[in-house]
């Protein structure tokens, strides 16, 4: 079973990302589950969302204590929320960042991709609040291979109602530009 935790801020689309990812895996015949952590969602405040993907029916619910994949939509959260403390050694971290900001990258597979630049270039969200969810999924697909890029693209229309084309292009670009550190 893959357990993915999305770290974002209110308004960045972390919840939508978790659902699009689940839909994508579902289209590949997997059993899926996606849910946000319901707390104080405020534009800007830290928000968590989760996706479980498995080959057999998923019975456990509730928060994922130590995910094997972490997707960080806002690089500031890595330090603010001390993300690595919850991660098992050897798990994968995909960060929306133009530079490496994890000092002890050795016990994790760390990937970075400047999703903000890719999103803002296509006017996804606005300057004070770029929406990077679909973009980062492109990077996640390449970095972990848990779902194909095509599945993510075909899953998008169910949750992305505005600027679908730009979202698809952004995911493709992230898929190409994501780098392992």
């Amino acid at each position: 079973m893959n357990e993915i935790k999305f770290y974002g801020r209110g308004g960045q689309g972390a919840v939508v990302a978790s659902i699009v990812l689940a839909n994508a895996a579902f289209k590949e015949g997997k059993f899926v589950q996606a849910f946000p952590f319901y707390g104080v969602e405020r534009r800007g405040a830290p928000v968590a969302a989760y996706t479980r993907i498995d080959t057999k029916p998923i019975r456990s619910r509730g928060q994922i204590k130590s995910p094997d994949i972490a997707v960080v939509l806002d690089p500031y959260l890595v330090t603010a929320l001390n993300i690595t403390s919850a991660l098992k050694p050897g798990s994968t971290i995909v960060i929306n960042s133009s530079k490496n900001i994890i000092s002890f990258a050795k016990n994790f597979n760390v990937y970075i991709c400047d999703a903000t630049a890719i999103a803002v270039k296509r006017a996804l969200g606005d300057r004070t609040n770029p929406i990077v969810n679909t973009t980062i999924l492109g990077a996640l697909s390449k970095a972990t291979g848990i779902v194909k890029l095509e599945s993510i693209i075909s899953a998008m229309p169910e949750k992305v109602y505005v600027k679908l084309e730009e979202n698809i292009e952004a995911a493709k670009e992230a898929y190409k530009t994501v780098k392992k550190i």
């Binding site: 104080v40 405040a45 004070t128």
Partner: protein, 291 residues
């Protein structure tokens, strides 16, 4: 450096309000006006959550969280107790959103108004159920898209005229206010506080995620609401209307164009809003002359 409003701050930073929240500013100004001898009663609304989770509080005054319908009835109980304890000098402020005032809490508010209970009721009006994710309320303006009135079925009813409803209760003082005019807002809260009985203050409170505009424009929209007469500033003291004159009205389109919640409106729908706005503003000016 001369300040035009009191310097004392009774709200703490570090609260959980969204970036550019007018509701946060409105509370900041009201507590500046009332000072620290004030108890606040807050029903379910954005302030329920943004004021901090246990054990933190964004208030530097005592406050009580109460049920959605009960801002007015709970505040009435607080004030009655304080009076019986000989502490009648303590201000009681009922602080509710538009849902808690126009819809679910109107019965308790009407009761308090009819009894002329002695406290200030402030409605910070962001024109929808923002705390629960932007669902339509009776305060949502005609034409606006919300999560329950999507743009292809936008809100078809005009904003409920809560001010006239309160005025009809013949309460001693009522006023509208905007965070773009803090000096005016604070003066009105202090005027209200100098009067016995039920005082109602209705503050327009633009909401970046709810109205879909960039957070830096909160003050601009709070100003345009007034200048376009969509939300005119006025007072009603013992039935006498006093409307703040702001020169020639700006076209409503000036106000609407910044807001994503209106982006779907066609020309004739905006014209309808302009016509309605003009008609209501004319009526308000007539009330000022007649009453």
């Amino acid at each position: 450096m001369k300040l035009t409003i009191p310097q004392q701050e009774l709200v703490y930073s570090g609260n959980a309000a969204c970036q550019g929240c007018a509701g946060l500013l409105a509370m900041r100004y009201c507590l500046k006006a009332l000072g620290d001898k004030t108890i606040v009663v807050v029903p379910a609304c954005c302030w329920t959550v943004l004021s901090g989770a246990f054990p933190a509080t964004a208030f530097n005054v005592p406050m009580f969280h109460t049920a959605f319908e009960t801002a007015a009835s709970c505040a009435c109980g607080v004030k009655a107790a304080l009076r019986m304890q000989g502490k009648d000098d303590i201000n009681v402020l009922a602080w509710a959103g538009d849902g808690g005032t126009f819809d679910i809490g109107i019965q308790a508010l009407s009761g308090a108004a009819e009894r002329n209970d002695d406290f200030i009721y402030v409605c910070y009006d962001n024109e929808a159920y923002m705390n629960t994710g932007i669902q339509r309320s009776s305060s949502t303006p005609y034409g606006a898209a919300t999560s329950t009135t999507p743009s292809n079925m936008f809100k078809n009813e005009y904003k409920k005229d809560i001010d006239s409803i309160l005025a009809a209760h013949n309460i001693p003082y009522m006023a509208t206010a905007s965070v773009a005019y803090p000096e005016d807002l604070i003066k009105k809260v202090q005027t209200a506080n100098s009067i016995r009985g039920l005082k109602f203050i209705h503050i327009i409170a633009p909401c970046p995620p709810g109205w879909r505009y960039p957070s830096e424009k909160t003050i601009a929209l709070s100003r345009l609401a007034v200048l376009t007469a969509v939300f005119p500033l006025y007072e009603v003291k013992d039935g006498k209307y006093t409307v703040r004159k702001t020169g020639d009205k700006k076209p409503v389109a000036e106000y609407i164009k910044h807001q994503g919640r209106f982006r779907h409106l066609k020309k004739e729908e905006i014209e309808y809003i302009q016509a309605e706005t003009d008609k209501r503003f004319e009526l308000l000016l007539k009330k000022e002359q007649l009453l």
